[in-house]
Symmetry: D2
């Protein structure tokens, strides 16, 4: 899959450092205290992310392929394994947030130690096997995924503090709407299409095999659902009307006594929203974010529409956005927020992940990776829904049209929105 | 959809009585005490089933369409509504099993009262609207579904009693294997197929619309996985090896400290299984029953295979079992047990529901019923998996090849088994 | 402790039958269905009480002392042991209510079998050891305790049914108030007093040793707090004002969203209360019943008073009610309800158990019984509060002034009330 | 109670600064990360302790008595109120550990701000009322209590980290045993004694009123139970034998699968214990620490003994240790560990709090403080047991022979041990 050349290794070395540095940079605005806690089980401590992504290289690459490598600390594998059963015992997930040691600075020292070993490994003149290159690439992709989770988790930690501290103190980059928000639908004709990944570049096993799907005629929105549209649902009492909700969604609404989307607060009669730039008034033109599948589905039913399937999404994205637009709101923009529509961009990429009406299940011909690393994707193939398109916390070079993200339907701390279909 | 004629009404009246009587007959072997309890939230008390199915006719038909009808008891709607939000308040589901009153005999009196009102309604010479006929049919289908649940629940209640009382005391009808159990696969060629229901007969909204699907080449087992095959997985330590399990499945296994399938007990070194005829040794030739989706999936992975999708199942059933075989083990046989393969029957129908690798989601073109009755199917379309083919507790006249049953993946008290695909 | 004579045995035989028959009589008004359920963990199924008290005689007496005795059923010990660790494995307490078999009638047959064996044992001409007589007496006392619990549990089961069925259908015996309800306090002078049991009659180990206590001057109410008085607390918003409540009490109130005492219901603006005779309006003159320790303590603080200690209670009862009054409302009266004060009775005995401000702890010189039977009292000596005086469900021949009952402070399904001290 | 003079104020100012400084000093060895977390609900974050004790002065003193005082931050009352219902809304206790802001350094700045305001207040030449002096004293006592909790919580946070970091890195001060450990009992004759506080110095309301108690003859150990003695119980299988345990204790042991005391670890066949100086081998001569009431009681029963009541303890301490010994192991010693017996010290004071067999209940004549501050002690008077004598984390000037500490019986993260009586 990969061929080992001097150039490719140097390029990988540079990419390695670039990806790794970004993790530290994401944590820079944080206090040491912010790096420790795990307020709910889904939110991992920032320093855990920093350490876990480092452990990955140590565990799967340096231990096996760098002769004479000494692990930084014998207990770190126990502390920073996430869920790889094949890689031994580990701290139970709900206890991650109780581990005050190693401290953030000690974790950064650990990162540096491993980074240096990695550079030594990459430049030691040994040809790398395909397997090694694969693991290296995997480790970087894995770190990029954790970078995205890191931003979700930082937002959760700060956004649930009564002081509502901003993550970023410089003024928010907040571009004006330059496209139209008129509701309009892209039309796709019935027929046999192909979805999934085929090619030489990195991709996850769950994107294979590329395969044919038959789609009936359908229409799909030419942009994301906006905050302003969702506010109408809230104002219309949508959270009090069972008829729009899935049965599990209705139980979720009632158990949490939820009356509005996550991070919305009505303060002195005005709707405010917590963003990484602090509390601010709602921006009606921006894409709706932080909605569970339940909320997306309820909104769709209230509108007399539905969510698209992942095949419908992928086919439409291919037809109407064959290139990922330059203006797409990805991590590299460092906007750290949703943005209003820019020009005629259909918003398939960036801003918010889009819920689809597809469960996360294997494609025809799917085969899991057979090593410990193969635990990565296949074992989550039940009870979750697919999201597509990436968010403002996703690195642009991490995403593809065939990329399948997946979360349980009740989750809303990630950057998730949606569009409608019919 | 239905046309009202004298004959069709008489036929419906007869069908009504036949279906209704079967509920009482199913409860006849029970003690009054067996009819009360709800040992886990999924298992409803038998007398609740008896009353709830009766309330359905009162609530949705007699109240609206039989002039002068008086409800039997003003509090019964509160007691016997299940989950119809549109039909008012109700006893919370976990409390069903604490309701000792009305007693079983009082519930039977309630059934008789409603049955008589229904016969008066059916024979009062008034033409019935399509809507009325639809509700009537729906009520009977609904009661048939509860009859099936009733058998699951009875088995649960008796099978978790340390005395292991038999439901049926006459000797078990236990036919010999007459087909072959050699593992063999039916081959289906790639192509465009159609699945879903289209036609004039009763069906659920979730079976619509009939639609095209593209299937790649696949092979599907020509029979159900057997007890003997599953025992090999147990003996091989399958319940202790994380690598076969979905992550949620592995947590399920560990949380319950599960070491073998439900209703299996190792007594003095011998594997026994609880059946409705009492405890008996395992019958290796019979179809495996009482496996969660997690267990079915783990077994499949261990075998290097997978489960079929619901489209694959439906297409294969259409190709290889175009008629439901006479020998199929349905409720009318009153076997109250799984049976060994009979002849060349591919076992698509009867015996045990088959897990598929398809999540329970709307078909293209799906529209929920728009009344309170529309709460029936659509609102469950998340987090559940589809099962196909019916079980030995399913009435034959209740099932169709397009019939979609659905349960959460951890459930195993129903009569669920599976076959493999590749 | 006991001496074995022909006469004493005959008397014991008669007492045995009398006590045992009362259990069946208490269950007579019940439907079979009422005998099965366990709506909360503290409430045991009536047929469990019937069987457990029977198992006690089988386990501790017949097995050891009746030559050739055959246990009725080998699994019953597993089903009907309560908490005697020394007597082997048992059904976990929360599962008692799922055991539909043996049925009520089968349990009654079990009772008859054991009763007959007991009569054979009692009349077989063998002298009985002290130990045997002790166990026999213990078994009867134990059954009397369960008879009282049985009435609590029956009330819980019926009183939580939306139909509010009456336990007794004949008209309630509901005597008029004949004493005064003017609040008045009995005065006790400071000094050394003795409490606890000393003597030859049956008593529990927790009533020993009789010992000296020093009491300062105190005053104690000359009657029980009434429904009318407690209603004032409710009307004054006592359940919404944290300042009256213990911290654990306040959490209890809020967790349960409790706004009034158990079994009180405001229906169409009128306060109603569920009694064993069905729903009826509050009777302001009757003693307050079904209050947790938290509620009793909050009421007392609101009144600027406190609860008496158990020593204060026992000394005052000895001084002001040296004999248990004939009019005391005990089980033998079969009133099955609280009653207004009769004459000048200080209500120390009968009607409702009285919370004291004393934790259930060992007396000086306490020694637990050393056999399995010794598990009975000592192992509960933490986290519970003492109640005194008996209730309308307590047999008169079961109680003594030194009798120490004990329950956790949040419990209110028993017949518990209180009086004030200062 | 207090009289306001120039001198007393200066003295208070000095005491104020001394007590306050000690809090910072206790936190000095911690990383910022250690100051944030709340691994279980009972363990509060160190920076929460720092802020909460500061809020106390702001809320109850500066706001009311320092003219023109401005609160440091309007949201801090919400963040740092603990349980004073009368002082408004607050962060729910289980969420304390999710509050990463204000950071530790911001909390220290808050402390300095309040300290300066307090010094201004103390030296502003205004006479202080009794009430003010009382609140000031209360605030300091309160802070001393939190200092002790701080040490418990620090030990919990570090001791549950897989790296077992030491709190103190200098070598442990670990004095040799200089007294005898022969088991010997102090004898006290029956009679009327007095316990409780009476006098002009600071004390808690729960120590009043001083009152008479009658005690029968008793004997009480002349020292604390040691690690070596408790190890015998562990080795004898005490944690597997139900007969020694209270019923709640036995459930606690089984629910937690507890096989040894907290902070004990068997590593490579050797028993190790986590101390604030890191992991070290058991020291058999030191007092046993970190035992719940359940464990203390089980050990006592196994030994054929019992725990003393709080009256027995206080009377014996008065008789045999009329002065608190110089050698007593209190916080001022900064040993941060238990110590072997020194000379003939009966160990009534310091080292570990001693469980008594007395529930935490009001003394005769008890009256709670009537203001918000009165919430302090009285509202906890249920379900807890009394401990006496102070620990190595208790400031010597905080304790008195009449001091009543109280905790729920299952808790073992505090520094709790015990002695026996008979």
């Amino acid at each position: 899959m990969f061929t080992s050349t001097e150039d490719s290794l140097t390029a990988l070395g540079r990419k390695f450092q670039r990806v790794r540095n970004r993790t530290e940079r994401l944590c820079e605005p944080l206090a040491a205290e912010d790096c420790v806690v795990q307020p709910v089980v889904d939110v991992s401590p920032p320093k855990w992310h920093m350490a876990h992504t480092t452990w990955f290289f140590e565990q799967f690459l340096l231990n096996d392929y760098l002769p004479g490598y000494e692990v930084y600390h014998p207990r770190f594998a126990f502390l920073f394994n996430s869920y790889y059963e094949g890689a031994g015992e580990r701290v139970l997930r709900p206890n991650r947030g109780n581990m005050t040691r190693p401290t953030r600075d000690e974790v950064i020292a650990y990162r540096q130690y491993v980074n240096e070993a990695m550079q030594a490994y990459l430049s030691n003149g040994q040809a790398k096997t395909e397997r090694e290159q694969y693991i290296l690439e995997l480790g970087l992709q894995h770190e990029q995924q954790h970078q995205e989770l890191l931003v979700y988790d930082i937002k959760y930690i700060l956004g649930h503090n009564p002081l509502f501290p901003a993550y970023l103190t410089e003024k928010s980059h907040h571009p004006e709407l330059t496209g139209s928000l008129d509701e309009s639908y892209l039309k796709v004709d019935a027929g046999l299409y192909e979805i999934g990944y085929e090619g030489p570049a990195f991709h996850w096993d769950n994107e294979r095999a590329r395969h044919k799907v038959y789609l009936a005629d359908y229409k799909i929105m030419n942009r994301l659902v906006t905050v302003g549209e969702f506010l109408e649902f809230v104002d219309a009492g949508g959270y009090e009307q069972y008829q729009w909700w899935l049965e599990e969604g209705w139980r979720w609404v009632n158990a949490l006594e939820r009356k509005c989307p996550k991070y919305w607060f009505k303060i002195d009669g005005q709707w405010m929203v917590y963003t990484l730039h602090g509390l601010e008034p709602l921006s009606p033109d921006e894409p709706m974010c932080h909605v569970s599948y339940f909320e997306a589905q309820a909104f769709a039913l209230w509108k007399g529409k539905r969510l698209p399937t992942e095949a419908e999404w992928e086919v439409a994205a291919g037809l109407f956005s064959p290139e990922i637009p330059e203006s797409a709101n990805f991590a590299e923009q460092e906007s750290f927020r949703t943005q209003s529509r820019q020009g005629a961009d259909c918003q398939f990429f960036g801003d918010v992940w889009e819920w689809t009406q597809s469960a996360y299940l294997p494609y025809p011909g799917y085969r899991a990776e057979s090593s410990t690393l193969g635990e990565y994707n296949g074992k989550f193939m039940v009870s979750q829904m697919v999201l597509r398109g990436g968010s403002y916390a996703t690195p642009r070079d991490h995403i593809r049209p065939s990329y399948r993200n997946f979360f349980h339907p009740h989750l809303n701390w990630l950057f998730n929105g949606f569009r409608l279909a019919e």
